[in-house]
Symmetry: C2
Subunit: 236 residues, 2 copies
């Protein structure tokens, strides 16, 4: 019967996500290297070998968590962007930047999973690439929209992109940036780097005894500065 077959599958899907949830919690406590199939099984009241019905190995579970984390950031970013009027490019930019920081603070271990030191010996399979690109797509869309509206004019006087970058800019332009100049594409990448760099510094403890009063305000300052560099302005 079709209904009962999906019943079994529903239970299966539920257990898979329960396993991932427990694994995520353990990640938070023990860190990436502390993720253990046995511990997950224990917490679910199963015998350790039962996990193998759902994930063929520890690495596959880790991969699933990485993809989930990328997707969670991606979803947060898309949602933040979608909540703004399309033509408020600066607002969209700020909202997107803030959403990354907010998500990271709420899910530090998952953030570390995707932006911390790579797990040695673990090679991210191709599956992660799609999920990993979601935030970049949103960033690029904001800049594209702003550019089309004539509201993107990078500060004059900044150094031009090196010639070598042209070869990298090509595929990026094709995939994401439509008509933006090489200079702007490189600037966009740098802003993106600066935003994540900021979040990582805060999360990994670099701002301890350095910025203590209001890190959200400091982060906003960084995001606003980057927007200024890109010459990003709201409609008006």
């Amino acid at each position: 019967m079709n209904a009962s077959r999906t019943a079994r599958e529903r239970v299966r899907a539920e257990l898979i996500s329960e396993i991932k949830e427990v694994a995520r919690r353990q990640l938070a406590i023990e860190g990436t290297s502390g993720l253990s199939l046995r511990a997950v099984a224990r917490e679910l009241g199963m015998v350790s070998s039962a996990i193998y019905r759902y994930f063929p190995s520890r690495d596959e579970l880790l991969t699933a968590l990485i993809i989930e984390a990328f997707n969670a950031v991606g979803a947060a970013v898309e949602e933040a962007d979608a909540a703004c009027p399309r033509d408020r490019h600066l607002d969209r930019w700020m909202a997107v930047c803030r959403s990354i920081r907010t998500w990271a603070l709420a899910h530090p271990s998952e953030y570390a999973l995707i932006h911390g030191s790579p797990v040695p010996g673990y090679v991210a399979p191709q599956d992660t690439a799609v999920a990993a690109a979601r935030d970049g797509i949103v960033f690029a869309a904001i800049l594209r929209d702003a550019d089309e509206a004539g509201r993107l004019s990078p500060l004059p006087g900044l150094p031009p992109a090196p010639e070598s970058f042209a070869a990298d800019a090509g595929p990026l332009r094709e995939a994401l940036f439509s008509t933006l100049s090489d200079d702007l594409i490189l600037r966009a990448l740098e802003s993106w780097t600066a935003i994540y760099g900021s979040v990582s510094f805060e999360l990994f403890g670099m701002y301890k005894n350095v910025i203590e009063q209001d890190r959200a305000a400091a982060f906003d300052h960084t995001a606003a500065t980057q927007a200024h560099l890109l010459g990003l302005t709201a409609a008006g």
Copy 2:
């Protein structure tokens, strides 16, 4: 006898640094969590318990490696700075930024140790703080020197530091930045963050399929942009 006593101590000091060297190598292969006293002992042809004559626990060895890594970056940065004429502030800035990237590429696992995801359950003891501050001291000195020479004039139009930052700026000014304004101090921190953010992105694989042609040139562009933001100019 004094000479023979130092002979024993010399052997001891040598073994300590041999242990650290082996540990560093293992870190490179296995990552932070793969560092094991037993493996270190094995590679040195000792029995595992012998290590305890030199390090009271695994965490102490880890701490020693962290301090060494901070000191290595610090030394690289200081050396790069010292090689430039004092009044070439922009050159000093670029040299210092490049030295960080160069060191990181040459010692990826040690870089990950100090700038990657924090090791869960491990709390860095106070001893690391001094070593961790060395690079910041050099950064600050360049800006201070430039300011005193009247060669630091931040770009107009950038957002001002949030009011909340004043309380953080105070101690930083006292310790590092002498007379720089709050705005400039925050900008300095952001530049510092951007530089490390760049290095981390490159090292942790975020630029895979994004910047492939000439990452050194792209990094230079980032460093130059940050210098421009700070309004840092060479004497002339």
